[in-house]
Symmetry: C3
Subunit: 347 residues, 3 copies
């Protein structure tokens, strides 16, 4: 953890900002947030589950954020909140303000005369902003990032270093795009023509809403004819791949290494576990949870949790059992034959 000498706050100041109630000394000063086990004097910590009650008893933190159920489980000064995890997020952000990047265009950046920059935009060294791009107020374009022709970056959005936006794409306000992300590369479209693949031009765009976070080295392809759409509040981890023409519903969270093939339509408030793979041309309704590593080959029309992964075992044991999957039909047929025999002999 980076411990820069930061500002400190009393519990009563925190509650004034973020709600909740103080139990114990409201004047307790805290200047950093830390996990139960490593917190020390001056830190606030947090508990999100009764499972951690024993660790709570041993913490050396000066204060703790707890839910109402655990407020009585400790005597150290505490903030009682209905959502301790969200409270932690807010306190952590307060205590650890983001680095401020000075506004202005670095001498080694290249900004087209035909681009439009809002107020207080920061453009890092090596960044490139192409013709007709529109950069909203307070945007930061990190070192080495590229913003294509006509692309629009909403106010307050941050592109970290080495991000690429192709021509003609859009991202809304307050977005965060991590390094190595590529937005708007061509979708994977081609037609076989006399023994050769013919490229199908990808003339759609990528249109991303507000408050979207995109992980490092994630790729989102532009649409073939229509647009690829990422709605407001979507959160994507690293190395996610979104194919052309997909639509990802608002507030859906996609963990690392997930692949979503072209023209898949994902609902709102879905949660897609790491390394899940979703076929193209399918539709998933709102509030679906996909377990990590699961392959989704068809549409899902009911909310709920879906899974298709196997618990690993020791290598030898696995090899013996897994090969029998290929004999399941034979095994089923043999059981049927036994059942027929058994019924026959009972008659």
């Amino acid at each position: 953890m980076t411990r820069r000498p930061g500002k400190s706050y009393s519990l009563s100041e925190l509650v004034a900002r973020f709600g909740g109630e103080v139990a114990g000394s409201a004047t307790t000063q805290i200047s950093q947030i830390a996990p139960l086990s490593s917190a020390r004097a001056g830190d606030i910590t947090f508990v999100t589950s009764a499972r951690y009650q024993r660790e709570l008893e041993k913490t050396r933190a000066s204060a703790v954020i707890v839910g109402p159920d655990l407020s009585g489980a400790t005597s150290i000064p505490r903030i009682v909140s209905g959502n301790p995890y969200a409270y932690y997020a807010k306190v952590c952000a307060l205590l650890n303000p983001e680095r401020v990047h000075a506004a202005g265009v670095h001498a080694l950046a290249s900004v087209s005369a035909a681009a439009r920059l809002g107020e207080k935009v920061s453009v890092g060294p090596g960044a490139v902003i192409d013709d007709e791009a529109e950069i909203g107020a307070g945007v930061r374009i990190g070192a080495g990032s590229y913003v294509g022709r006509g692309t629009r970056i909403g106010a307050g959005t941050v592109l970290h270093a080495n991000v690429t936006f192709y021509d003609g794409c859009i991202i809304g306000e307050r977005g965060i795009v991590h390094s190595g992300a590529v937005i708007g590369a061509d979708g994977f479209g081609m037609a076989m023509d006399e023994g050769r693949w013919l490229k199908i031009p990808q003339i759609g765009r990528v249109v991303i809403g507000a408050d979207v976070e995109i992980g490092a080295n994630t790729t989102i392809d532009r649409g073939a004819l229509e647009d690829t759409v990422i709605e407001d509040g979507v959160k994507m981890d690293n190395q996610v791949q979104i194919g052309h023409n997909c639509r990802i519903g608002a507030h859906t969270a996609i963990a690392g290494c997930v692949g979503i093939a072209g023209s898949a339509l994902i609902g709102r408030y879905c949660r897609i576990g790491g390394a899940a793979m979703i076929h193209g041309h399918i539709e998933i309704v709102d509030n679906v949870e996909i377990s990590g590593g699961t392959l989704v080959p068809k549409s899902i029309d009911k909310p709920g949790k879906y899974t298709a992964v196997f618990p690993m075992t020791g290598h030898r044991e696995w090899t013996v059992n897994a090969s029998l999957v290929r004999q399941l039909k034979d095994l089923r047929d043999r059981v049927r034959a036994l059942e027929d025999d058994s019924e026959g002999s009972e008659r």
Copy 2:
């Protein structure tokens, strides 16, 4: 879709360029191409399967590209082609010409005096071309891309922004390399030596043929001693990983998130579905199709389609059944015992 005011063409002009036959008014003018459902006046659309006949009846397009089987299914002006999908690709490219990048080296690019550039090369801001690199005529090197020492880029090839070619690699003519792709990084080779990994220098190259497209953030490692080879016409989607010493046969198409381990030899005209994983040191013949998500642990010596993925189910149902895979041998043995009993009682 980006609708720039473009040129318009009559159906007879299209047929003169691309073949096929016109049915209905050959003077119908079209200026854009769009899907059946969203096409409007001035657009041409296309139908690739009789499945879409109902949508065809409702389209508001001014014209349609159809196969001979569906020519009678509509009365709107149409182009009849034996391969409507390829025809769509050609018309789409005509109506949506690529952006022209002015030739020349940007003031913020770095081109070695010892590099050789062909005619009409465009080098974007922040791009770097190292010593002895050879850049063919009409090549575009996107902003922030790096071309290593001695690397050769064939005529007409496009490197989008932030592409990396290591030293000593080759790509042929008319290639397209998307942002974030890394060509020629070291293969994963090391030897355990007294408790420490010893790096094995990777002195092979990556040698890529003509008409190859490489997706965003795809990585192709250089060979250990020999070269990694990508033959003509190979198409790769995003986030594909090709290990050292692989050979990918001509016109093979590799969908997103596929991993191919070192020294795998893949045939021509193969199609590898998204997120498939192919072991190293195996050989796959021509015309093999691998289903998305399938793991290929051994060589394939016959053309055809191969699969090893499970249809996901509801989480609880899955958990109950999947855990039984680990008891398959036991189950099989119990069925055997019952069969022995049954035979014994019949004697």
Copy 3:
């Protein structure tokens, strides 16, 4: 293979440097290393297994590196070593010295006045070194790479082109970081708060030891509160994803496309096969081997090899059998019923 005219060495010179014993003419000169099948005069080759004895008999190499068991299997001049594969690595490195990059900061690089650079640092065009970064002696920062504020790069480490280190991270000495790698992006942490995801600031760092190699487009996230730690000698291939708060033990090797979710603790000397996926918040002891493609959903407390992948089959055969996995409980219950019947009839 790149065959630059290189220096040549006699077998006795090699043995003087790297140990082992010469059999046959010790004055044999070699200038390159090559595989058994393609080696020619002037090359040395190597054999790591008796499986290759037939190829050994046919090689045209001038010399060979062999283990004691195969020393008698050939009459060509040879070096006998207890570890021919490591010996190959050493000879290959000697014969193929790495390109030397001139020290100095390129005119198109941007180095903060508040950064500290050691001796003989090479900073390529377009590279950016931010405030308070510390760059050790002999470090190479490739073209277009970004080193964040306060980040420390140990002596002798190489960042290839287009690498990104976020603020406040650390990598030790003699590291190699390949292009497109992103170190220190935010971990995937957020709290649901009244229907919206609230970002949890990621204030930990990434702390990487000495002698670590990181593959192209690999991503390692910074910790949420504590640090993500990569210990000495870890080797990672391309497109690996390491979540926040992970700890990877020393000398563990991680093949391409592996994903490791947040807060996983991996032991020392583990080997993780390509495309394996490891759940978060689990612990794996030292010396564990995970087969490629395997999903690890829980902790592993014993060394050994673990697997959960299925051998692919022809598509139709697979489809028939795989769907029966969903009926395993039913099948098991039917076998039980038959067993009960059978026992009943025997009584």
